[in-house]
Amino acid sequence: MNRNYIYLTILMFILAVGTLVIKKANEPKQIEPQQLLFELIQPTRYVSTDQVAKMIIKNDPSLEIIDVRSAMEFNRFSLPRSVNVPLDSLLNNTSSYLGIAGTKVVFVSDNDIAADQAWVITKRLGVKSTYVMKGGLNQWMETIIDPKQPDPTEPYTAFETYAFRQGAQLYFTGSKAEAMESSKIKVEVQRKKKSGGASGGC
């Protein structure tokens, strides 16, 4: 028998045995790249700090805040009701926090870069209703903890927002709202002097 047939037989057998050895890395199921790109360019994934604050104050049960900073940073300061899942261990804990029907997951980090990364990772895995807090905790500090008074020329809605933020500041920090300056003015009751006796007249 031709020797080449023997070689080919051995080669084929080795290759076939090789298929038993090769194991595809257990890759998680992912959404289509087109779908991901489509979702990526939608600004709808962002929620503002005001919206988050409103939901916390109203104690909205559907809100689930996931803080993707490190545990150390989380211990130093964190939003109320938020859970800490650092970005690098996000994939280890996905099953317990993500994909719960009826919840809105909001990712929070110092700015929105790490939160956006968390959003992309979970979106690729097909997790629904995940959001990113726009501007992150920096924005939170600027808007909720230390709100700036709007210019007098700004539209009415800016003042409404400011009013809400002042209330939210009170809620989250517990500090007393700055008393309005007008309330400091002492109102003196001017009494009419009693007229003493008749003064001329008819």
Partner: protein, 200 residues
Amino acid sequence: MGPLFPNGIITGEWDFVIALLLGIIFGFVLEASGFSSSRNITGVFYGYNFVVIRVFFTAVIVAMVGMLYFDYFGWLDLSKIFILPTFLSPMILGGVIMGVGFIMGGFCPGTSFTAIAIGKLDGLVFAIGLFLGIFVFSLSFPLFENFFVSGNMGNVTLTDVTGISAAWFAMAFTVVALAAFWGTSIIEKKIRKNMTEHTF
């Protein structure tokens, strides 16, 4: 990367071009393997020529094992390839009819055309009969329709049905094929005294 069509790497307009190229290659391989001779083909049923088994087994194990490696290297996503739906009982009956036709006619549809290409009259008659059969079947289709669509199991694979992984099937099939390859060679040698051994 692959499969090329579902991933949009090749668009549908290329269907006919690719079909033509693949057809030419397929026809060439059939002819080169000696499949245009009905003696070679029916020999497997009479036990003196097993070239059909060897060629088809070689094609099957190379494709089987090759696709598993392609999947591993990321060149082909096996979860996306088209799997022909299984209609169990119609397929068994169809296989029996095909086998009977194979022995009686000495060709399968593809090989009859390679036989025509090298000028064989029996191949031509076979092909005419083939089209007559298709014509008659089409006209009488309403009679068979219920049976034709019965026993639909969907796009299942052996792994779906048995739970045994594709690699084990490929492995087992390769062992069987290689055994058949050597076994049939020994049988052929004993039966055919004047056999010319092919070399490459």
